[in-house]
C-alpha cells in the first residue's frame, strides 16, 4: 500500500539548533516533493519544492534533500527560532499526474524553545 510517513508527531529543540524533519514514502514515484508550513488553525503555506533529479535545495535557513533511492526527503531548519514553531507537511507530486494532485503526510509538529 502507499504510505507517506513523517518522523514522530512532535519534535522539540532548543533555539539556535538545527531541526531535521524526515519524510519517507513507499509505493509512490514522485516527480517533485514539496514542503509546507502550517500554523494552528491556518492553511498550509508552501515553503520549498525539490525535483526528483535534484539532490538538495536551499532557501535562506531552509534546506531540503531528496533521495529517490532511499525514498526519503530531509527538511532542515538551521539556527532555529521560536517563530519556526509550526507543523511541517511534506507532499508528493506524482510522476504522470497531470491533474496536479498532491499526496500529503500528516506532518511533524516542531516546537523551538528559547
Amino acid at each position: 500500500s502507499q504510505k507517506i510517513e513523517q518522523n514522530s508527531e512532535a519534535l522539540n529543540i532548543q533555539e539556535g539548533k538545527t531541526a531535521t524533519l524526515t519524510c519517507n514514502y513507499t509505493n509512490y514515484s514522485p516527480a517533485y516533493l514539496q514542503w509546507y508550513r502550517q500554523d494552528p488553525g491556518r492553511g498550509p503555506v508552501f515553503l520549498l519544492l525539490i525535483r526528483e533529479n535534484e539532490k538538495e535545495k536551499r532557501k535562506e535557513r531552509l534546506k531540503v534533500t531528496f533521495d529517490t533511492t532511499l525514498k526519503q526527503s530531509l527538511f532542515h531548519i538551521t539556527a532555529s527560532q521560536p517563530a519556526d514553531s509550526a507543523t511541517y507537511l511534506c507532499a508528493l507530486d506524482i510522476r504522470g499526474s497531470t491533474l496536479g494532485r498532491l499526496y500529503f503526510g500528516r506532518g511533524t509538529q516542531l516546537t523551538v524553545w528559547p
Binding site: I4, E9, A31, Y32, Q34, G41, R42, G43, P44, V45, F46, L49, L89, A91, D93, T98, L99, G100, R101, L102, F104, G105, R106, G107, Q109
Partner: protein
C-alpha cells in the same frame, strides 16, 4: 495581494442541517481543491476542479457536493452533516499544470480554512 479567501472562518451547524462553505481566489488559477483535515492528520482531498471539470475522489461521501460557478468562486456543500464531519475544511488553488512549454510546478495556495463544528 492575490489570495485565497475562505468564509466563514468558523461555522457551527446542527446535526443534519445543510451547510455551505465558500472559497474565492484572486490568483486566476484554473484548478481549485477542497480538502478535509482533522486534528493531527494529513489533509484529505475531497474533490477538485480543473476549470469547470469536476473530479471527485473515490472515497468522498455523497454527502459532500461542490459547485464552481466561475473561475473565482468554489463552494462546498455538506448536505446532512454528521458528527464525523467536524473538521477543518481547506480550499486551495494551483496553476494549470500544462500551461507553458514545461509542466508547471504544482504549488498549491491555501486559504485560512473553515473550522466546522457539528452539534
Amino acid at each position: 495581494d492575490a489570495m485565497v479567501i475562505q468564509n466563514p472562518r468558523y461555522q457551527v451547524t446542527q446535526f443534519g442541517k445543510p451547510v455551505t462553505l465558500s472559497c474565492s481566489q484572486t490568483l486566476n488559477h484554473n484548478v481549485m481543491y477542497w480538502y478535509q483535515q482533522k486534528s493531527s492528520q494529513a489533509p484529505k482531498l475531497l474533490f477538485h476542479y480543473y476549470d469547470k471539470d469536476f473530479n471527485n475522489e473515490a472515497d468522498t461521501p455523497d454527502n459532500f457536493q461542490s459547485r464552481r460557478p466561475n473561475t473565482s468562486f468554489c463552494f462546498l456543500d455538506i448536505r446532512s452533516p454528521g458528527l464525523g464531519d467536524a473538521a477543518m475544511y481547506l480550499c486551495a488553488t494551483s496553476r494549470d499544470r500544462n500551461s507553458g512549454r514545461t509542466l508547471a510546478k504544482n504549488i498549491q495556495y491555501f486559504g485560512a480554512g473553515t473550522r466546522l463544528s457539528v452539534l
